[in-house]
Amino acid sequence: MAETHSLQDLQQPAVSSKVFIQRDYSSGTICKFQTKFPSELESRMDKQQFEETMQTLNNLYAEAEKLGGKSYLEGCLACLTAYTVFLCMETHYEKVLKKIARYIKDQNEKIYAPRGLLLTDPIERGLRVVEITIFEDRSIGSGR
């Protein structure tokens, strides 16, 4: 049996519920998600892995929004060129968002899909929530 399952196999089973991980505003307006393990996932996966995923995501978002010499330089350069530089160059934030998208896809393939779960990239929900779709456990392919 293959260890990873393609998502197409899992989209046929019905969605049983969705869990939403809300934002954590305790450090201000930066993008950070709560790392508390939701009770609905207790039967499906380890707390450790979930927290690791969330922590990595939070770190990636922190990297995107990091204030430092590099981001200031980018801002000043953009201002001087009347923001035309972004026609040919990607902003740092966009680069990190692509990294996040790759990470989520990777996590889905390795960890979540085999357990009948699907992580949705928060950017598709306006960075409000991390949506985890829980699929019904069917005997077709989602063995554990």
Partner: protein, 468 residues
Amino acid sequence: MKNCEYQQIDPRALSASPLSAQNPAEKKVQRPRRKWEAFPGKNRFFCDGRLILARQNGVLPLTLGLIVVTSGLFFAFDCPFLVQHLTVCIPMIGGVLFLFVVASLLRTSFTDPGILPRATADEAADIERQIDTSGSSTYRPPPRTKEILINQQVVKLKYCFTCKMFRPPRTSHCSLCDNCVERFDHHCPWVGNCVGKRNYRYFYSFIISLSFLTSFIFGCVITHITLRSQAGKGIVQAIQESPASVVELVICFFSIWSILGLSGFHTYLVASNLTTNEDIKGSWSGKRGAEESGNPYTYSNIITNCCVTLCGPMPPSLIDRRGFLPPDEAIPAAAASEMELPPFTPKSDANMCTQSTKDVLERMLHSSDFHGLCPSGNPKTSPLVQEVSSAPATAEPYLSSGCSRQLARQAVVDPCPLLSPVAFSKSNRRDSLHSINPAFRLASPSPTLSRSALVLGDGPDIGFIPQH
């Protein structure tokens, strides 16, 4: 709900010809639709979703016109004399400033200010489940707020009834654009858009460069008239020889006060990492006692605050205007967008008011329909409708203050003799309005006041304070 086969309601028959022409076409070829075509807020989109503007942008042409006309008169009438008598640098500096001003203005107007997309039906249901503990049967649901700690300071997060989510800190719902905007500063009618997280730096560079431009033109025109009157037979002669200069003088004189004042005010805001909204509401000032207040977002260092606000990383637009709608949502989205079409086109029908009411209700129904994968999405429509229908009972006191002004300002709404249908269509925003009054007040106000005075600048800020 598909109205592909027949039109059910009379107001739709008014726009029936485009609908019936489109429907057979929709069935044959499903053109992939972009997300901006189904956007629920009150915005206009240009260049296939690349540019975004508020729907009410009545004063932006005036702003642009004033800047272009004044600068044009300056280059045409004052520069030749000044180049001859002083230096050729004058039109060069003027040209650079003018380009910078126009570029900043257009950037501010056409950039997404940081609009938050509305919550999907599943998210909204999840949040409702979490707060629905009281189960009270009052007309209005209890005010929904959530308190959180930011840097050891208690901050209240309010629930937005329109967007169906708890607003992040510093986010406010703009009633004119019908969107929640992150780090909401104010809705600027002169710029025709909200000023928020993503376009604040462009707005700031616009007002700073405009201050320089108006001061520069003012100085040059004074120099011009002085030189002419010294060379010629006095000041009257000078004015007769160059009447355009007087026009420029008048415009610049009146605008300099407000623009410089506004620049100073916003420089203060940038240095203390505040928004206009917070400053006017007095969120962090010493209202509640010195130990409780204090801006939790400030870095306590002016330079850091400036750098963060103006040169910080540029977050991307969250609304993904140019993305494609998924094909399974394209059909209901088409139906929803067909109902969106009437509000976008300028109307001259007398029964537009009832149509817009129906549109609002239909849009609400459809926005919960096509976002819901989960069947639990559908039952939500009945509480939605109930929420709206219960509101007009208490909507009347609010109408006299705010909505009458809104009526005056909305270019597409014809004076509607029946107040109640308009109240009905406004009532779905009333719930979000009553908890975010300052944003609403900021949005609705003094363009009516400031239009009478020819000032280039954000009249509402200055005209607003006495009202508060």
